[in-house]
Symmetry: D3
Subunit: 152 residues, 6 copies
Amino acid sequence: MPKPKPAFSHLDATGAAKMVDVGHKPVQLRTATAAGELVCQCATIRLLRAQALPKGDVLAAARLAGILAAKRTDELIPLCHGLPLDSIAVDFTVRADRVLISATARTSAKTGVEMEALVAVTIAGLTLYDMMKAVDKTMVLGAVRVTAKTKV
Amino acid sequence: MPKPKPAFSHLDATGAAKMVDVGHKPVQLRTATAAGELVCQCATIRLLRAQALPKGDVLAAARLAGILAAKRTDELIPLCHGLPLDSIAVDFTVRADRVLISATARTSAKTGVEMEALVAVTIAGLTLYDMMKAVDKTMVLGAVRVTAKTKV
Amino acid sequence: MPKPKPAFSHLDATGAAKMVDVGHKPVQLRTATAAGELVCQCATIRLLRAQALPKGDVLAAARLAGILAAKRTDELIPLCHGLPLDSIAVDFTVRADRVLISATARTSAKTGVEMEALVAVTIAGLTLYDMMKAVDKTMVLGAVRVTAKTKV
Amino acid sequence: MPKPKPAFSHLDATGAAKMVDVGHKPVQLRTATAAGELVCQCATIRLLRAQALPKGDVLAAARLAGILAAKRTDELIPLCHGLPLDSIAVDFTVRADRVLISATARTSAKTGVEMEALVAVTIAGLTLYDMMKAVDKTMVLGAVRVTAKTKV
Amino acid sequence: MPKPKPAFSHLDATGAAKMVDVGHKPVQLRTATAAGELVCQCATIRLLRAQALPKGDVLAAARLAGILAAKRTDELIPLCHGLPLDSIAVDFTVRADRVLISATARTSAKTGVEMEALVAVTIAGLTLYDMMKAVDKTMVLGAVRVTAKTKV
Amino acid sequence: MPKPKPAFSHLDATGAAKMVDVGHKPVQLRTATAAGELVCQCATIRLLRAQALPKGDVLAAARLAGILAAKRTDELIPLCHGLPLDSIAVDFTVRADRVLISATARTSAKTGVEMEALVAVTIAGLTLYDMMKAVDKTMVLGAVRVTAKTKV
């Protein structure tokens, strides 16, 4: 731990929280992908496949909730900058005992979009949770992390 | 799986998403507690203890972000009802390799507040992630689940 | 026009806009239904049936957008009261040259929910417009009106 | 209908809704004008002229509601991009049996602003509806469409 | 200073911020009035009277901004509860060198509405500031305080 | 008062409010600093120093509320443009009978950020007010003004 001083970029010299100044940083094309999973009972997944997937509203609702939340990341995460997203996509893979969630955000901006991708994943996951909670009290949202990040 | 029909309460007979009608339900005092954890490198936790905890802004920022997000749950989770929260509290326990997060929401309403507690935990966790991501690229938010729910 | 004075309930004696005071009104179960239609080219409707309806995301997106907007009616319409919606549902009927949209809102409150139903219809209609505008520059949203209102 | 595949730009290959990636598009000066009308009883328009127009708050309220809503278009229409509006203006023409509404949005961005103009028109129209609904139960909002669009 | 312990009701025993639990408090009819003033150059007030007051849009815009902000107080002030406002009114008195602003909020709720009245006054004042800042760089918003509070 | 016509830039020729068109203005690095003060009883300040400052949550909450509100200035002040803030910082100085508040906003945009700085100061001040109002009914928020503005 040789250089702890610059470590917490959101704290000023007195320890106060601040938004990092990105005024000097160049606008670059940036992408970030985040992933997570909602672990369910197998019976819940069977119901999801039987009742909800033919029509699509359950996954569509979760996808849209994730997209909408990503666009409001700077309202939710206090020290995030407002960013104009070029795109945001949310995808699901339904496994026997869980739903895998991933989200990819792209922007042309002075700072990265991993928080946007993470917000999309978590809100999409919680929206699934909300729609399936009547049949499954055991669900756990986990493994939420950034899986890729690029800057060109 | 004897009664699959009522299972997905947010889907109507055609499979379309809908907000569940709670008009006939009584107003009751309801509470819900959710928990989760942000797993970090031990060095990150040491930095958190050394730099951020004496002053308090890091955990304070995460706590407030969770509280504010909980109050906007119905804007984030499409089929949630708007609820007047009587209170919402967010707490942290800093362990050697993770920060444990919990949130308890209370309301006097026609429907429960587990989604409010879950939103508080995830947004508090992501706010911590945001403030520590400059020093730790390995963090994972997980174990997000409801730990208690009451109705009186 | 014998009694013009009480006519514009949102204007005070000086002509200034104000939120009508509902403090003295009883809480009642209230419902309102609004309707509207998005008139399209027949080719657009054929594409909608062929590409989008099997999967459902187009109508699901419009439905959710309407539901979410209805919950924020008091942020959009300046003199509307914030109301706790018991439920809000948005439905579509796809005709040869148009999509019919209807929305029904329910609340237990001191004032009615026709604005919530109208907001749901218009935002659902504009969301359809947004998703179909790449193929049809002629669409018109119209016939937006309240079709039913009850108070018990 | 020779090339239906690219038609619905907001659907991916599996039919899932997505925000169109505009990362490769150039920033251009873009404008869009939308129009609509709120059809009323003639007596309502007479009241509007007599009571509300001298002071101006009714049209001012509708204008501001339209402007504010236009700035939040990406929160209301799920697949819209957040755009920095250079300007947004909302105008009214009061006719014997209706109020004509128009809105013009301008931006320097990678994608167009017709949705911003449409949102301004509809929310301005519904705000008028809200303020006049106590005296007229027959109003209909209609003819909402894009009337001009430019890109330089 | 004999009893400092209960003083800061928004801090728990460890000093962490929390929303005060109002679950046990009775619903009561509550009102609060706040006031403030925007001090300007006399020439600015003369312009306001000459150009803006005949038409009314300047004060109307400030009034509506105050009303809208008051409805979102719990989004702006982190530890405020969401309250269903029965009414909110904003008034102005134009003096030779300042504009006096007052706002009265009413609710039937478990906690008071002074923050709603204060938010209405400040945002109304800043909206005036925004519209007059091109002609006056010396304006000061001040004397913002609660002037009356009732509970029945 | 030789040239009153261009004075009120937010009014068009008919007196209607409008967002000023900034489409032709260059993107420049702009900063603005605003200040204000919350005048309290001395006993309140002593309590603040004794109870709240060691832990930091009170000032942290006010600081974050100011930062979050600044990012939403265009939602609160009707004719403000949405701006991508490069940074926003809020600082406090605790005096014997008041808390001094200042905020500095930076952007690279076509228009200035004094409204963002003013919104940060007022919402930070009202958040302090909210947390201290249980012990002090005499507080006044005042002296809110722009103290510096630059454009490069």
